[in-house]
Assembly symmetry: C2
Homo-oligomer: 255 residues x 2
């Protein structure tokens, strides 16, 4: 009846081509909270996944379109950065002055298509989201299950997303493996015996949020968090991934 | 470097007029995780707050308008329930077939203006959100600080909200006291020394999500959760409350 989120220290700067499973496995093996056990969830910030997968873009290689130049001028932004956002966007929902709200190729709706310049070494470089965050999570899960001899270990890849009507950002799951990303309680009965309606819990997003709370801050260099106590949501298989968290277009009322 | 969420057992059925501070205080005093300490956060589901505050509505007293009857017919719903939703809504954003997305009087955008029929004893009754959830949190905080002799204890009142573009619901804070609901890292530097932009963490919502993870399910009767390890966000004063989590209309791009 309790859940714990532990920072896993010792993850250094990650660069393109690094074996992230080995890097995270090494840190987990030495973690003060002990190594992972059956039912645990390893949460990793998207940033180190993208860095390991070589998703850095050098802005010197980008030739901004007139559209990117116009949007950049409105927000006082770098037109090359805006061009990368437009390149990553499957659809622009709102080209706002503070942020360009886009749907990414994965179907996520977020600011700037997830393109980020914070905590990226060197100037004039930006970092894209992983091409296939569920695939990244599956590969990490396989590596960590093998290393620690486990078959019920979940992996969640997170990013910080804003919300349409609430201030601030919450971490959410953009990829996962070995987890019921959405826990469906529809069809179960409430304590009065009436069916619970509209009760699907976005478990992977709640895990992402809990993990973020354990960090000392966005600049703290603590990308990996181990979550204990959520074993009921952990699977022996990869599961449907965070793709299950994307609302289908036919049920989208706000586009 | 870790955060813990503990279920506080022993909260029975709460009814109108109950002294919720005493009920929660009694349960906390006997909690297996030990009584609250400085820097802890007591999270309570909105449902028991609303019940104690007498926010139950008997549908037999409701005379549905033609508008409520029309909307109810589209979704196969009880027109009296829909009328209560319309009564609680400051604005209807989307009168969808699955849910009526509204802005509540508090400024929250959520399904059905927070009006709920699950886990409400007796048929033909629905439960409204507290009139002033930040006020409810402040009163609970005062009662619990006095009982346990603490001055840095936070209280968060939560509800489960859907999201525009993601499936499932996450618990969020609709009221809080003694907490920095939004933690502002703007102006701080990233690890490369560049200013972090757009980094405001919705701490109260992440705490609500972490608390929900510790529950065994929506029907489990576990409204109260104690969170340890988030002391950096806990204040000696009531603070601005969850009102700080409502995005101002001038920055709302999706209405």
């Amino acid at each position: 009846l309790s859940v714990e989120a532990h920072v896993v220290p010792g993850i250094g700067e990650v660069t393109s081509g690094d074996d992230l499973g080995a890097v995270i496995g090494e840190a987990l093996a030495l973690a003060p909270c002990g190594p992972p056990a059956e039912g645990d969830v390893v949460v990793t910030a998207q940033k180190i996944v993208s860095k390991a997968e070589g998703m850095m873009v050098d802005l010197a290689t980008i030739d901004p379109s007139p559209e990117a130049q116009r949007l950049a001028a409105e927000g006082g932004r770098d037109p090359r950065h805006v061009q990368v956002v437009l390149d990553e966007a499957a659809e622009v929902l709102r080209p706002g002055p503070w942020a360009i709200i886009c749907e990414t190729r994965h179907g996520f709706v977020c600011a700037n298509a997830g393109v980020d310049a914070s905590n990226v070494p060197g100037s004039d470089r930006v970092l894209l989201l992983p091409r296939d965050p569920d695939g990244s999570a599956r590969r990490l899960r396989a590596a960590l299950c093998a290393r620690f001899g486990l078959d019920r270990l979940a992996v969640v890849v997170t990013d910080s997303f804003g919300r349409a009507w609430r201030t601030g950002q919450c971490d959410v799951a953009i990829g996962c493996a070995g987890l019921s990303a959405v826990w469906d309680e529809r069809g179960r009965a409430d304590r009065e015996g009436r069916p619970l309606t509209a009760t699907e819990i976005a478990v992977a997003d709640e895990i992402a949020a809990a993990a973020d709370l354990a960090r000392s801050g966005k600049a703290g260099g603590e990308p990996v968090i181990l979550i204990r106590g959520c074993g009921k949501f952990v699977l022996k298989s990869d599961g449907a991934g965070a793709a299950a968290l994307v609302r289908e277009r036919s049920r989208d009322m706000f586009r």
